[in-house]
Amino acid sequence: MQMPRSWLAAMIAGAVALCPAVVSAQTSLQVPLQFDFLNPGAKSLALGGAFAGVADDATASFANPAGLTLLGTPELSAELRSSRTTSLFLQRGRLSGPVINQGTDTIQGPVFGESTGVHTGLGYFSLVYPHASHRWVIAGYRHELAHIDQQFFSDGVFQKDPTEFTSRRDAPQEGIRSLSISGYGVSGAYQVRRHVAVGGGLAVYTFALDSLFRRFDVDGFLGAPKRDVEFGRSTQRGRRAGLAPTIGVLLDRGAARLGIVYRRGASFDYTTVDGSDPARTAVFRVPHTLAIGASVRVRPSLLIAGEMTRINYSRLVQDFVTDQARATGRQASFSVDDGTEWHVSAQYALRWRQHPPIRLRAGVWYDPDHSVHFAPAVQPVTATDKLFDERLSTALSTGRSQAHVAGGVGFTVSRQLELNAAVDVAPRNHVFSTSLIVHLGQGGLP
């Protein structure tokens, strides 16, 4: 049987493309690592995250420590949070050149798969103790800052440079990534003046990163991936702890409140092993956050809150992104934009007979695109460079800004116990949260 010429040429070119050199490093970049910094607690979630200017429960120990001075009794707070996050990755298809319509090369254009991570766990726990003088408050907390589980498998896309006679195929690849960052912190707040409180905290963040990226052989140039024949692999692993401070201020005029919080991101070392290259250490830098929020109690039953949150996601580029792109020599082409989130929300206290009112909450917030982007920093010269640029530009083109819609409800179960529930929905993220607040002791309250 005579093999078509195009097939033969494709196989020759494909053999070059499947060479494992530098491919492992690129793989990890093809699934954007994207996470949000949501304030803890179901109340905060239901308010669309607009909490820096509210900060009136135990979750303030993380969200805005200065707000702790508002508390009248010792409080215990715990939150169970469940999240579902979807990431898109370049799964198959042909990015350039004509489809051969044989084997796996049957689709013109890129096909993106979805990597969905689901996680449920204790999102937050805190204990707040206001001093009898009401001037200072201390708190301890545990907060899960980020938890990401991703897994994907790509068949390898087909490409063809106009200057070449044959197509190329990216090697099939698999990625499994788990990232967890949790903070164990102590916060304190001091009432400087009647309307001014300052707060601060120091948290020890634990960092756990486990990533495995593998490339596989194929059954013929156009055939299915052979997952039993590994081409190459790279790993990223880190188990570290890092310190990071938070400072906040709250100006409280009774009906109106303004809160400002600055939270530094911790940094953690991790180790990358790429094929047979020597292991190297890089740094994962959690973005810094600045939030400015305000709330106004328009009526005793109606609270309006807003917040602007600036997050310098670009801190992720240095090392974490550039290290993965190191083998390509194209580090300058990768970027992550800093982002500004906008949060708006309202809470209405619905009176119900003689009981404490039920709190109905709703919020929306704008979540800017903070995925990794690729834009060629230099003009590609070789066909390999051109196809690399094409592939990465496509793979990292799915980042989008999102609008989140949130809502929730809060109940007073007893004088000591409050329950809150909330949901936050966006095209690629769903978060559900329930939290309870326990008022410990009377603390003088009737």
């Binding site: 508002l70 009401h134 300052v198 400002i260 919080v261 600045l290 007073t412």
Partner: protein, 322 residues
């Protein structure tokens, strides 16, 4: 980013200092008031309720928003009433309890209701006694016999009140009438209101019946000279007006000069105990000294008509048997 936050912090620090150093919110001051009541620190309770009011406390009510999502019944008048009652400010206590009742903040099904009823009744009774005492103490009024109980004056019966010129010798400034409207003007508004009435019969009479206090104020030892008797009566008025310092000073002077009666010693002991209990300055061992003075006053049976008028707290501090 950091610079912006630091700038705001510096701005907050550089703002002109407020004249008050009390940084508490209204609900924190209210919580302190309740704690003070639990600790039986009545003067502090009143001060904290007043601080809560200054800090912008809302109207009393059920399920009032304290902070965050904490809703509680806000009933400052109840605690005010309790504190006033124990401070001997019976008229203020009576009015505070009346406000609680009118606002229906304590319903019959509430656990506080029985206690409120008991305290309100107690306050009203003491107000009646005070009123009767004032009527009897006013110059020109017929003083009851120190031994024979005075006839009771019913609420419907008008009090015999002197005119303004007769009120003047009692030592209170005419301005005291203006203080009537403010239950928080000081420790003597209850008595001041009665004296204001004495000075101006057109003022509404808020008092009821009974004349036990009147008997106390009017009962003079037969062996006392007229000037000493007047001084002692003035001291007793001070005492029942909550002006314990003045009462103590007058009675100390009387006893040191040998002009004081046994009752002067009795009320001196009570004044000093009241001072100690209300946190006002006196000797460190005021209670102990007051007990000695009480023993010097002799058999307590001779003060049978006075003892019911003394605050249970004072009686307890002085270890008087009921």
């Amino acid at each position: 980013m950091l610079n912006l936050v630091l700038g705001v912090l510096l701005l907050a620090q550089s703002a002109p200092a407020a004249p008050r150093t009390d940084t508490r919110t209204w609900y924190q001051a209210y919580a302190d008031a309740q704690r003070a009541v639990e600790q039986r620190n009545w003067a502090a309770a009143v001060a904290n309720i007043e601080a809560a009011s200054r800090a912008g406390a809302p109207k009393p009510g059920r399920n009032v928003l304290f902070y965050g999502d904490v809703y509680r019944d806000f009933n400052p008048d109840y605690y005010l009433g309790v504190a006033y009652l124990n401070l001997g400010r019976y008229d203020d206590a009576d009015r505070a309890f009346e406000r609680v009742k009118q606002a229906q903040l304590v319903a019959p099904k509430d656990s506080q209701y029985a206690e409120l009823t008991r305290l309100a009744t107690q306050a009203k009774g003491m107000v009646s006694k005070e009123a009767a005492a004032l009527a009897a103490a006013a110059p020109g009024a017929k003083l009851p016999d120190p031994v024979v109980p005075a006839p009771s004056i019913t609420a419907s019966a008008p009090m015999a009140v002197p005119n303004a010129s007769q009120a003047a010798p009692m030592g209170l400034p005419p301005a005291s009438a203006a203080q009537y409207s403010s239950p928080q003007a000081g420790g003597s508004s209850s008595m001041q209101s009665k004296l204001a009435q004495a000075a101006n019969p057109k003022l509404p009479n808020r008092s009821g019946s009974n004349s036990a206090v009147a008997q106390s104020l009017g009962a003079r030892p037969p062996d006392m000279g007229q000037p000493a008797a007047g001084e002692e009566r003035a001291a007793l008025i001070d005492f029942f007006s909550g002006r314990y310092v003045e009462a103590r000073n007058r009675l100390t002077k009387l006893t040191l000069t040998g002009r004081g009666s046994q009752r002067a010693l009795f009320y001196l002991a009570c004044s000093r105990a009241a001072l100690a209990l209300t946190g006002q300055p006196d000797a460190d061992n005021a209670i102990a000294e007051a007990r000695v003075q009480l023993r010097q006053a002799g058999d307590l049976a001779q003060f049978a008509q006075d003892r019911p008028l003394i605050s249970p707290r004072v009686r307890q501090a002085l270890e008087m048997q009921p």
